[in-house]
Every structure is written in C-alpha cells, then in structure tokens.
Amino acid sequence: MSDQLVKVRDLKIGATVFPPNAKPHDIEIVHGVSFDLERGKVLGLIGESGAGKSTIGLSTMAYGRGGVRITGGEVWINGRDILQTKNADLRALRGGEVTYVSQSAAASFNPARPIVEQIVEAAVRHKKFSRSEAEKRAVELFRKLGLPEPETIGERYPHQVSGGQLQRCMTALALCPEPDLVVFDEPTTALDVTTQIDVLMAIKAAIRDTGVAALYITHDLAVVAQVSDDIMVLKLGDTVEYGSTDQIINNPQEDYTKALVSVRSIDHEEKQPTPDPLLRVENVTARYKGTKFDVLKDVNVELHPGQTLAVVGESGSGKSTLARVITGLLPQREGQITFDGRQLTPEQSARSREDLRELQMIYQMADVAMNPRQTVGTIIGRPLEFYFGVKGDEKRKKIIDLLDEIEMGKDFIDRYPAELSGGQKQRVCIARALAAKPKMIICDEVTSALDPLVADGILKLLLDLQKIENVAYLFITHDLATVKAIADSIAVMYQGQVVRYGSKSEVLAPPFDDYTDLLLSSVPEMRLGWLEDVVAHRKMESAGN
C-alpha cells in the first residue's frame, strides 16, 4: 500500500442557482482544484465563505450538498477514482473509508436516537465491526476524547449532553469505523473559545493516536495552524496558495494570504473616561419570566459619550441579556439605568420617543433584522420618517448621505436585502441605526457571522463613524480579538456577573483573575505550537496548585 491516500486533480464543481430576478442557471463554484494527501497527514482547507472549502471537502465523499454537482476532474481515494464508482461502492466509501464531522453536531445528530447507536451505525452497516465490538470501540473513543462517564455517555440522547461534548461525540462518530480519511468541516467554529481549545486538543490527539488522515476545513487560520501539516488557501473556488503550514503562516507569498495572516490589524487608541458618563448601569439584577434564576446579578458598568464599552463573555454569560435590559425589552428586577442624565423607565413601552431614538441597536444576523420585501432605501428611510418626519426628496438625499457614510453609495438605494452580501447587509443595518441620530448604539455580536476580512471592514467603519458622529457603542462580543481592536473599556462577564471591569489597558494587563486568564489564553494565536504551549502551561499550573 502506497502512502498516497487522496489525489484530487482539476476538480470542478457546479451548482444551479435561482436568483430572484433572473432565470435559473448553472454556475461553477470550484474551478479546477488539485491537491494530494498522504496517509496520516492533515491538510487544512482555509478560506472565507464562498471559497468552496466545504464543497471540496464533501467531494472526497462524492457528495454534493443541495443542488451542488461535481462537474469535472478526478478524486482518487485508495487508488480508485470515486467519481466513477457505482452506488453500492460509493456507500462503502461513505462512512467506511471517508467520514465527516460537521460544524453543528447539535443539528447533525438524530434527536430521536441515543448517541452510541448513531456512532456505531456506520461501522456495523459496513461490517467493519460487530455491534459489540463497535460499542467497545466507541467507549474507547469517548475516553480518548476526554468525555465524562465514557462507559455510559453513549446511552444519552443528543440533547442531554453539552455542545462541546456533542462535537466530541461527532468526532467519535467519524473515527469509529476506522476510516482512512476524516473530513472536519469547521468542527469548533460554533463553540466558545474555552470549549474550542478542549475540542481542538481532543481532535488533534485522536488524529495522532489513530493515524487517520484528515481534511480540516475552517475560516480561522490560527486554528488550522494548530492541527494541519499542509494548508491550502482558497478564494472563490480557486487555489490561492498551497504549501506547508510553516510556510503559509510564517512566509505567505500571496497578498490574500498575507491579509488573512495579518487580519485584525486595527489599532485603536484608548480614550480617557469623561466626567459624565452617557450610560450608567447600577446594581442591575434581572431574571426571565417564570424562572427562579437571576441571569444578571448586580451588574455595574458605565459608558462614556463617544466611547466603546466592550462586554465580553461566553454563551450564557448574560451579555445579551444586559442589552435586553438596557433597551427595556426585559425590565430589571432591581437597580437602575441612567442614560444621558435621566433615569430610564424599565419597560420599553413606557419610554419616550426621544429615549427610543437615542438608543439604537444592531444585531448579529443582519439578514433577519431586515424586512426582505423592503428596499435598502425604505429600510434606512423608515427611522428618518418615524423620528424626524422627513419625507420626499429630503429623505432621499439623507438616505444617500447615509449610504455614502457606510461606503456603499446611492446605487444601492433600490436594492433588496437578498441582493446584498453579508457585510453589505450589516452596513445597511448600521445606516439604519445611524439614521436615528442616536447617542448610543448597542452592537450585539455584529461581526460574529462575518468572515474575518469583512468583519475587519465593519469594525473600521464603526470606528470611523464614532469619530464623525460621536456615538457611543456598547459592544457585545465573545471575540477577544475584536475587543482589543475597538474597546475603550471592557467588562468581562461570567455567569451573569461582571468579573472584571475597567479601561482596556487595565483589563488586558496582568494580574488576571482565573476566568479572564482562561478566556485570554484560549484565543488561538497565529503561530505553530500555540495549542501545545497553552495545554502544557495549564497542566503545569494545575500541577502547581
């Protein structure tokens, strides 16, 4: 058996698209990509959304998602071109020789069946193991992946384990039939940073111990640098650069790769607090209706005019709840909120129109925050009309001014949201918030759903607008790199409490409390060996304690 496992030559992939205002037609989404993979090696496929990386990954199983078809080229696995194989042979390949780990394990596990049943299924169906052998192997994998109660966790249903645990179960599912190749498709993207590091370590150890080869697909270069031997950078279905991990990270040749490596290069000078804060949250405690559990506990923060307060935390830390309390969507149980010198009524419905106008919000999902049947002009024009009564030509002129401000221009005024890219949609949402001439905007994970380069553009725009409009941002995010880029002050939240609060330089300087330390050290760094360093460091610390 040779060392060569995968050989992809001139792979072309197409799809049929159904644009809103035109006839359905075929497009090519991958334009002739070639790569090789030896047994036991890991190749990272990296690129932004639309680069075709998932599509290429799935082509090693001769699978096209939705209307996607492989239109040309060769995919050789274990010495045969799988694009020429028949149904039964293809089924033996899928789940036998090549397996798949998807981004969302929560959605990829059948909710109606116990976990272990789904894990052993492929191995048993392909007659690789008997049922009892496969179950034994699953327990072994659970143990290897660091899951709690490895003997019995498989008997649980998917909803009975946490997201990070389920992602590890998905890895066990992929490794159970002893495949030659595993396709990891963004396996840690949906996880919190502190969970991501555990899963990443588990995956890396499992790859090493089982000697399986892997295609590791992600948009996060810092993550892929930790696990792969080679990296292929993709953009819009073309190979940009293909080389060893060391070369791509430390000596990128192409401009696009350089941009990916140096992303988050925004430099933001921290501003000094003013004597009068714009927003003052004092001793705020809140809980959701019908629960007996405080999701916010005695929160105190301040935001100064024209500045940015970043609220950082993992999912469930209460950061979005804080935004809901400030906007009045969830009235607080205790404490008070002062805005621009006056106390805000807890219930949103009781607030004055001025209060509503001066406090605007931008959301994570720009596409669901806009009415798909309204044009960009209507969307941005609505607050102008509602708050200022502006109509007709004057309104149109103001809309165009706003479009200029968000660097899009007047050509977009009659477009519909469906015709915009993700970044452009978020820009329209920013313009809509700005149209109300607010003193403060709450930005709830506004860059989380965007590709890194696009997100960078949005952050730069937000900073520029802050200079011009003197608007304050309450910036909610789980991403510490974003925080470093734009914050003036930072509040770290954990289980409903602010565990660390102060100016950016104070919060990001040691000595750290345990949680902030964990959070900061979990952010992947763009260098080889970072993962091992962190893990070694943590082991040392826990041994020292």
């Binding site: 909710p111 492929a122 169906r125």
Partner: protein, 318 residues
Amino acid sequence: MNLALKLVAQRLALGIILLLLVSVLIFTGTLILPGDVAQSILGQSATPEALANLREELGLNEPAVARYFDWLGGLLTGDLGTALTNGQDIASSLGTRLKNTLFLAFWAAMVSVPLAIFLGLVAVRFRDRWPDKLISGLTLSTISIPEFLIGYVLMYFVGVKLGWAPTVSTIYDSMTLVEKLNAIALPVTVLTLVVLAHMMRMTRAAILNVMQSPYIETAELKGLTMFIIIWRHAFPNSVAPIVNVVMLNLAYLVVGVVVVEVVFTYPGMGQYLVDHVSKRDLPVVQACGLIFAAVYIGLNMIADIVSILSNPRLRHPK
C-alpha cells in the same frame, strides 16, 4: 420522565373534561329540538291526559338539570336508557352494533395504516419520480370518488363478476374469524381506499420536511441506503404529525362509516343510528352521539399522548 407524565396526565384530564362538555352539548341539543318525546311516541292523535301520564312516567316534568344528571349517572353505570321506538335496552342492542363497527374499523385500520405509511415511505424514496407520482395520483383519485360509488363498482366487479367476496357483508357471532374477514373484505377495501390518500400524503410531507435536516445528511454520509435513512432517521422524527392524521382517519373509520355500512348492509352503529334518527328516537341518538364523541376525543387524545412521548426531550429530560 416527570414532565412527560405531567403532560400526559394533563391530556387525560382535558379529554375527560371535553367529554363532559360534549355530553352537556348533546343533552341540551336534543332538548331544544322542537317537538316532544311523549308526543312522538303516542302520535298526533294522543289525548292530553295520555301525554301528561307518559310525561310523568318518562320523568319529563323534572327540571332539565336533574334529568341531565340522571342521564349522566345512567351512562356512567352503563345504562343508556331504553329506546322509545321498540322499548329495547339501548346498551344491549348498541353493544353488538358497536362491536361490529369496531371490528370493521379495526381491520380497515390494520390494512390502511401500514399501507399508507409504507406508500408514504416509498413516495419519499422515489420523490418526484414515477412511483411517487403514481402513488399520489392513485390515492388522490380514490379519495375523490364518492365511497358509495367505489362500493358499488367493487361489488359489481369483485363480488358479482369475479365472485371473490360476498356483496352483502352480514356477520354473525357464530362465524369463524376467516368467514367474518371474507364477509367484510369489500367494505374494508372501500374504507382503505377512502382514508389512504390523507395518511399517505401526510406521511410523505412530514418525512420530506425532516429530510432537509442536517442529521439526514450525516446518515447519507455514513453510506446508509436510502430506505434505512428514511426508516431509521427520518420516520422517528416525523411520528407526531403522522400519528395525528392517522388518528383523525381512525376516528373517521368508526364514525364516518355510515354510508359504507348502508351500502354493504353491514350491521354496525351507522345503520342503527340512521334508522333511529329517522324515527326521532332521541335516547338512541344521544347515546350514539356520545359514543362517537368519545371515540373522537379518545383517539385524538391518544394522538396527543403519542406525540408527547415521541419527543425525546420530554421522554429523557436532562
């Protein structure tokens, strides 16, 4: 398990309350109908004295509320009263009829439910290809033709021309099961054809809905065959909507078989009800109405409970 048990108990309680409400409705409904039971028994030529005597005898002079509770108490102890027309005990004559109707409905369900679900699975497997279109077309045409027409056509071709099954479905207690099944072969076929389309199309739609889920892709990428994917991964997640439609159709099988029973002169509830409605025999109508209501409520309650229990989140809480 606690939450699921609580929900199931809730459904049961709701079902019982609903049944009580229906009994009130049926009672008042027959009460406000024009005319008078005593009058209809004795006929137009009855003397006022005779009417007054009979009213007294039947307890019609009691207040309505008292009569209702009297009736309800009787129901709970299995006493449905006596038929006005022939003076027979309703419970005993209804008993055999109900048994016959349930017998017919049971066998119709035994054929139609598995067949509908199987056809639904086949339609999903060959989605938008000829088997799917054929199944959809055939079931739609059988549901579109009135059941009495299908009944007579089958009677003529299968019963008379081919002689495979009797055209009159009379059954006795002394018949063996095989003889009984042979006797009801044609009505069962007609009922199956009538309820098939609804259940099959709901199965198809419910499973297709689930087929978009990422876990179906996971199953496909395990290299499983399409039928195993549909059966093991899609079907368990679409049980709730399917059970609802199945139960509605079962209720129809029990309650709505009047026409089919008449066509095949089958001694079931339907024909019994029709006979007594035409004679204004109110106690019988009330009893039949209540039984039909109980069947409907009971089956829908079962559907609700199965839906609750089919949800793994409720069955296995964190």
